[in-house]
Symmetry: C2
Subunit: 460 residues, 2 copies
Amino acid sequence: MKRILFTIITILNVQAYIVAQEDQQAFFIKDIYNHTLQHAVCDNWLSYLSNDIGGRLSGSENAAIAVDYTLGELAKLEIVDTTWKQACMVPRWVRGDREEVIVYHNNEPHKVNALSLGNSVGTGNGPLTAEIIEVYGIDTLETLGTDHLKGKIVLFNRPMSNKHINTGYAYGEAVDQRVHGASQASKYGAIAVLVRSVTTQLDDLPHTGVQIYADGVVPIPALAVSTNDAEKISGWLQSETVRVSIENNPQILPQVESHNVIAEIRGSEFPDEIILVGGHLDSWDVGGGAHDDGAGCVHSMQVIETLNALGYKPKRTIRCVLFMNEENGLGGGLEYARISDQKGEYHLAAIESDSGGFTPRGFTCTAEAEVFKPFLSKLQEFDLFLDPYDLYLKAGGAGADINPLKSQKGLLIGFKPDNQRYFDFHHTSADVYENVNVRELRLGAAAITSLVYLIDQYGL
Amino acid sequence: MKRILFTIITILNVQAYIVAQEDQQAFFIKDIYNHTLQHAVCDNWLSYLSNDIGGRLSGSENAAIAVDYTLGELAKLEIVDTTWKQACMVPRWVRGDREEVIVYHNNEPHKVNALSLGNSVGTGNGPLTAEIIEVYGIDTLETLGTDHLKGKIVLFNRPMSNKHINTGYAYGEAVDQRVHGASQASKYGAIAVLVRSVTTQLDDLPHTGVQIYADGVVPIPALAVSTNDAEKISGWLQSETVRVSIENNPQILPQVESHNVIAEIRGSEFPDEIILVGGHLDSWDVGGGAHDDGAGCVHSMQVIETLNALGYKPKRTIRCVLFMNEENGLGGGLEYARISDQKGEYHLAAIESDSGGFTPRGFTCTAEAEVFKPFLSKLQEFDLFLDPYDLYLKAGGAGADINPLKSQKGLLIGFKPDNQRYFDFHHTSADVYENVNVRELRLGAAAITSLVYLIDQYGL
């Protein structure tokens, strides 16, 4: 009887202990949110990155300034044991000072807002002038063939669909025109391409972004035009032959050295289990790279600042990594993984924020099923985070910079904020701090910090 | 054996039938989303309400124009069987043309952005000038007492907390100063009140809103000032006596008749079971009442337009109701329920959208547990709506206009969009169409239409 009683008491104690522990964790998550919503500094950092430094294209002076600035800010936080710059090679593409697209409608010139696509060549000496051929996708090029395309300027004008709820999905559907359009059109003798901006908005903003020449094709100039201009040209083409004159002068320079920025808090119990939180520090050169991906960088930095402010001592090693060159090469992400693999490191979890500074919706996770499923049920079982904070955790993509860590077989997690407005600003001059809502930004940092905390507490 | 086989086949058939039915319903919800995201007209309606008509305070000419406009638009939809205007009495408060608040700091006059609160009296002949006493809540008035307050102008300056994730909750915590501040301060002899705007933003926009004089108190002028101005005055008060001069001239006129707008589709199978969807058509007079609550009105109208476009034949009666006078009296909501009760109607469900045109997060529901719980499990069991669309359904508040239907014991449901930005615009001159994102608005309409459809299909 005594023994049974003892057993019962033991069970009750263990349960009470678990409940108490859960309570403690719930309180700590509340502390994380309270601190982040009331005292976060991520918005100041973002304002500086976006407005004071500005666009941070890989290899640019601004990118180098941003490396030193963020490294300095992270080094100020007492909780951080080590900070370092990790060298990586990055492409160096420079936009140049001319981006002129003039469309002739009824023989009248109409200036069109345009931006050279990343990695585009220039038109050389003076403008290129030719007839516009409108297509709705790469497939159509084959149907038209060299007969119709040789010497022409192709307008890729398939809109990004507005019917998908997930705008990222719609972007994926539409972006092939931007990435591969020039390369494919060149095969059929086209002399340049204009690409409808990848956004559901109808407005006057051109959206830049990377384009890639396939091996062996003649590189031809590629420029984005605004959706309004693409619609306008399309309208004119219904009843007349439309000619366009294009002039741009970007330069493709030799690769240069740049850096990932890393700050590490060494774990007290399991230092070899690394939890990474990161974003990418480079951005396009137009705008301030505020949502893409200044937000992800300052989210990640804020995780460290919050743990610092709350006096937290992590059991596992927590690393904030600001990757270089996500936009046009992935130099930083690949180099980080290469060195990590070489050192035999193990990233228990890596979380990337690269979808903007909007209200958090949840997280998606790429991992082997045997890692993901127990983790998911563990998180769901402890009723203190996802549900109360209206967040989901589901299987799905993680992030370009952390994907190369896949072979370490940890959890790769993508932070998913609401994405309805993301492509209103993406890769444009409007991607500036003023278009980020401070509360939404801070909520993102709080959600990521909470997840880092729970992974640090539980492991997988 | 034959019989067993027959039973098994029957069971399989029934299951196949249920699955097929579910598929059909999932397809229809997809159709609802596709139509709404691609072809909705709610944004045009909202642009007209907000920009062409503008602020629609109860009893104003604009409110009357909005009644006729929305009634006309609803009547154009073929699916609608009946439209009517339902008369209700509403207060008539007119802002006037003077709202001048001048604060004297170091004897220098500083003009402050101010808006009279709804229902406020004016200062009478010429300005009122007095010393400012700052308080952080109504409680403090009693502590200070008549000795300190008589003849003074009270500045209520407790900020809306930015630590709550739910901004609606934070608003509820802070708004007592605006609603009851003047009335309470008057009891101690104060001659006017200034109220810090109820928002987490620090900016220059004053936020108006209703205030109520308790029976028997001397009504004193009550004006909202911007958070920046409230902070500035508070700073000056640390080191000096600050005087303020206030002049405003609003008028409280006799009640007038106004109208709810109603459009009904008669149910084909259960016409006596009404599913209501609505918002409130009145708004404050500053700005365009775009988020509050033009969005809710056009959400509700879009439900009808979408069902019309998809050729849907509802089993139950569906009513779109645009209520008058939510902001300062609830005349419309109360009258609607009174007449409905009088006729012995039964509202199976009523859904109100009155939290802005932001990305949908879900629905909250007020009902007797015996109605709510089976409904919730029914919705969750059919895995075609809430989860795939990242929406929740939980117990919680419904909406001011539909709450009076409580005695009919149906489901009262509040549509809950993301609320992080709502109080940036609420009751200000910035609550205009340009601050509504069209995709976010349309997603709201699609979510509400889907819920209406499911309730129509299943009942409760």
